[in-house]
Symmetry: C2
Subunit: 163 residues, 2 copies
């Protein structure tokens, strides 16, 4: 059976479902990472981002015109699986926090890429409200990534190395 | 059996294996994406990046002090699986190229995050040659991401929308 050719509008909504699934997965993962982190600063960063993620999910729910739906996002499953491996393999090790932090940055970069794409498509589709909501989230993700880089530079990597 | 605490040096090498696996996967995936792409500009961008990826793999081989090894990278498997879904679900659709391009940018962002982390750790470990090699690749990945954004802005998204 021939399928209907899919439009940018459908691609936008498919990708919205993908990031909605991803955000929910991240919401469930951050408390585990906060619990595993050894440094108080990194714990606090993960907890702060967990709260932000709740707001990001609410924003996505506003972008959906109908009932929000998720769609299994193979990418976030794979990226968070790497974080879980770090928690397991580096438990009790001086390099644990450096590994957790890097895993969190891989998650942030996936989101930065996805939100950047969604904003471009929402602009093309003339969805102005969606553009504003998605931009708000993109800014938070970029700020989180920068904050993690700062923590990495000032503390975590040196600790991992000095131990 | 208690495991030995793992150091930053081990984390660096584990992550090097992870990105080595990822680059090889990307090398195998890019020709499929180039074949699937409808626009000549996007095809050319994927083919160019395929050649660059060969050089990036050679650089990683120089960074390994011993025989290069890969380690299954769940993240890249997940990210490339999403690209494969786009090729399947959007085949013959006007939005195909926009979807392929977005999938490629998700790959680039994963790599940007990983190389950024590896450079920070190599600096911490005093591995100057590794820093230079990894920085060269990071610059290429960032340039690829920017080139893809330009193609998206100037052509692909409009085509997907106009169709």
């Amino acid at each position: 059976m021939a399928k209907e050719p899919k439009t940018l509008d459908e691609l936008f909504h498919d990708t919205l479902k993908d990031i909605y699934f991803a955000e929910k997965k991240i919401l469930a993962t951050l408390p585990k990472m906060a619990k595993a982190a050894q440094s108080e600063e990194l714990k606090a960063a993960f907890e702060k981002h967990r709260t932000e993620t709740e707001g990001q999910i609410e924003r996505l729910e506003k972008v959906f015109e109908q009932k929000p739906q998720g769609k299994t996002c193979a990418a976030i499953n794979g990226i968070t699986e790497e974080g879980a491996e770090i928690m397991e393999e580096y438990k009790g090790s001086p390099a644990l926090d450096a590994g957790l932090l890097a895993a969190a940055q891989a998650v942030e970069h996936y989101e930065i890429s996805r939100y950047g794409t969604l904003i471009a498509w929402a602009e093309e589709l003339g969805l102005d409200d969606a553009v504003s909501l998605l931009e708000e989230t993109l800014e938070e993700e970029e700020a989180t990534d920068e904050a993690l880089t700062e923590i990495a530079k000032t503390a975590i990597n040196q600790e991992a190395q000095a131990a």
